[in-house]
Symmetry: D2
Subunit: 321 residues, 4 copies
């Protein structure tokens, strides 16, 4: 059994990891570190785990675990690792953004399995991608691999309120958020950097505009992204290209059907729908922001790092309704 | 024109008062007092008022206004009035709970117009009822007036997230609240005291159990209350009794149709539906918690205190969808 | 008093008209025509009107009314007017799409007051704009007037479920729609034609791409639209241009604040927010699809046609929460 | 492997069965019968299964399967079984209400495992309980077993829109249902009969009133039920009694914590919270109406009928947010 520890145990991604890990046949959760909740039962915070676990939060780490998940706020992972030391064999998956971008990444591999599966299998350290970054990259990397990103890329994506984290605020107050919609950080979202970095790796010299408007949606889970760009390739050719690219990726589904967000909510799937409208290729990409966009992808990376079947513990019933 | 001031201007009830007052033909808002937002445009906090008002929050009161609305947290009105003094002619409507219950009420009249219209017309000080208390009392007072509350009363009511106030918290976080339901303060909600007091006044010696379960609903506005009690009276007799009781009340509608919450949301109406099931009378009572349950009722009280038509400024389009 | 009749009385836009007309001081509703509901109380279908109106649906028109609102399905207004005849003085406002486009429009004026106020004041027949078309045109016409639409225009807009009409279907089933998001008719929405026509009128020869993705949102009311295009003008210059264009339009607010959909829900307002990001101008435009996008705009047109203050009956409390 | 067939394959319970069965390690789905969708891919109707299954709907049954799930409308199972014949070894689980009540039940065992586990293990035919009936019975059977139901029982329960089935209607239209609340069949819901039957079996001569108000909630999944009745037993004694009763039931959790609906949504769990308020015992019972209230419970029954671990295929990640 893989012994795991979770750092930053009271947030949404930690809760989702706990839910996934408790049904994962090859892992145990050794400790859940939370300075604010130390001593408290985990099920008092992640209340749906009532009856499923007797774990208590702790403020002591076990440095000998096989794997540590870092679920700290963005920018706090590096500081945490400077203060706390793990065994030389301990693997680390960081769900924050500290190690996603070079040169800060150091020895961390960018954990998008569909892009870096081989490297993830060999590495000790993984930087788990951002949620928007996951949905957007999966929509674009097959084109980049074929040097087909030759025009501006227009992206509009809407995320659920869990994307904003567990800390309550004005824009996550239910009275404000329900029945509402807004955008934020238009053209300037921090995930653009990791997207850019991946595209550049596949299509060296990539310098097209990525025009991205992120929206706050009126739902708690999921990312619904539409992207379009000009291309001369036919729809058939593009579909073939995507299907080939993703032929060995168990969580990515390529389709020409129209799709809707709830097809993937509560799963680790990404569904990509392709349409051609005149010279424009329209790509719709949907994921669950907490699963494929965070904790599920972390488990997927763990599976790869430990030589397990990539799907272990991730065959999840969709939420559907 | 009635010159009004609002104390505690950044909360939900203050916002709703501002929305209602700006379309009220007989009032002006002289000042909106908020220590935390002093100097800031009101439309920066109540953002739907953008383009409608240039008012700034202030930390200075004008003691000469004709009417002051107190929109402070519960328990803070008394302290505020001890520190700040208004002119001897200034009328006061307190939306908090400081003056609802005797003997604390002092010279404040309990502001449920359907019960105390005459006294409200004559008084200088009104204690505006609580939101649950409004929905529940309007469902019961016709029976109390006829001494017909002779058995236990079973009450279940669900409120929207605005009922919890603007301050964000765990149970108003959108990710938690959406698609969720829970109850709180079962059998012990503080509004039971004001309900008890009113029923006792109409039906002296009233001592039946009021068994009340308040729920947190997955919507932002409205209270949906069901009540039942045993009675030997026929449905026809009861309907007649309610229709007579409310014959001069422009905001209360009595029906035997089945009803649903959104019939009253965004209005000052209370719809009461009556059914008889065997020996049980089932009463459904619906209001908008921020309007008839708070700010709308405050305007209604203001209209009465100043000799205006009770409906002035309160003929509101329902939200419906 | 203006005597009005409503044709197609059981749908959402008819219901919203009835809600607005009952608080309009200068109109009476003479009849509400619905073949399927004839004889039934209007408040049995538009149930929030319970206690407000005793009107019955009828299958007989009064051809002598001053104004008829056509709330039929798209494509049915022309057929209706061929079968039914009104007095020579009767004015007509069509909420469908039969008369929006030339040459079908005939003597109908396109009823976007901010564009055609003078013509609307003089005409007997108005074609009320589509909801998406309203939000999008108000975002673009100031630029078109100055011949500033010189590049592709990228539009993403999300509408509430009332936009799909009262007839239940798979994509308006609550279980499907709640917490969901999807797009439809990407790049091909029928409202593009009326938008094109208006832009072409203001900026003759306008031939830029209008790339429009319409989304189905997880709320019942409202349209949240973002648009961007390249321009060399500074933000200050653009804001000045918009403020000048809309200086006499009581329902359009121009701002540089960030905005969110619920600022306009339940009102006849359109708020337009302007940002400049590098060479791109980002325009956010929000309306209530049933009010400024349909029935409220119809009342606004009526007010203009009858020489009333444009705001009569349209000073509505926003829904806010 | 257990070969299963599903009759009535296009509804919500069939969809949920398919989602559960595809991750169940001991079953295969042999056919999905739907006369209206025959020939169509299952994933065109249950669209979240895209990429997971290539099954087509069929209008031909395979009478040799090991198990048939009947997911027909209420009242249609009997007629279906009269027309279609299965092998003598084929087991049947009916998710409708045709065989729940004696004497209609015939050789069907009432499939509430916590009540009838032994009988379910031995039977060929199971009548799966109703969703409300599941939540309510699990809240009451420990008391009934101890003859402790000696007073009126007051029940208020709210269900999600999936409870109304996939067929669209006025009260499942998103525009109507969202932000709304209503009740239906107060005191007369059909599930009262099966509840009564179970309680009577455990507490012979049970004749207390079951006063039940079912509500339509503003969410798609889940049942939130509160029940109270008078009892002289202490809370400790009652908690002990419930914990003993459910000690071998893997899906029922007994607690004195306050609970909220989303703790169980997307799982097969039922959480029961107990409080004592004066002489009243307040029981809160929560389930997912489509899982523990329908398809999950059917799988649980299948597991028992085939000698599998009861939890097989039912260790589901909760939805949580």
């Amino acid at each position: 059994m893989i012994k795991t520890g979770i750092i930053g145990g009271s947030g949404y991604t930690a809760g989702e990891l706990l839910r996934l890990l408790q049904n994962h046949p090859k892992t145990t959760v050794d400790f859940v570190y939370s300075t604010t909740n130390a001593g408290k039962p985990v099920a008092k915070v992640h209340q749906d785990l009532l009856g499923d676990t007797d774990l208590l939060f702790t403020d002591t780490i076990n440095p000998e675990v096989n794997l540590v998940f870092l679920c700290l706020g963005h920018g706090q992972s590096k500081a945490f690792l400077e203060k706390h030391h793990f065994a030389s064999h301990t693997r680390i998956i960081d769900l924050g953004n500290d190690f996603r971008l070079h040169p800060d990444a150091g020895s961390f591999v960018y954990g998008l399995p569909e892009l870096n599966r081989k490297k993830i299998k060999m590495t000790q350290f993984v930087a788990n991608p951002g949620c928007f970054a996951t949905a957007i990259q999966l929509a674009l990397v097959p084109l980049a691999q074929h040097q087909e990103l030759q025009n501006s890329i227009h992206i509009n994506a809407t995320t659920g309120s869990t994307g904003a984290g567990v800390q309550p605020s004005g824009t996550t107050h239910h009275s404000w958020r329900t029945n509402n919609m807004s955008h934020y950080k238009a053209f300037e979202h921090q995930h653009l950097d990791e997207i850019q970095q991946s595209l550049d790796k596949l299509q060296p010299g990539f310098n097209q505009e990525l025009l991205f408007i992120p929206n706050r949606g009126d739902f708690s889970r999921g990312i619904f992204a539409t992207l379009y760009t000009q291309t001369e390739k036919s729809l058939d050719a593009i579909v073939a290209l995507y299907k080939t690219f993703y032929q060995n990726d168990p969580f990515v589904v390529v389709t020409t059907d129209t799709i809707h967000l709830k097809q993937v909510v509560q799963t680790n799937k990404c569904i990509i729908s392709l349409e051609k409208k005149g010279k424009y290729l329209l790509i719709t990409s949907i994921i669950d922001n907490l699963i494929k966009g965070a904790s599920g992808q972390a488990i997927q990376n763990m599976n790869l790092m430990f030589g397990l079947d990539e799907k272990t513990g991730l065959q999840l019933k969709s939420g559907s309704f």
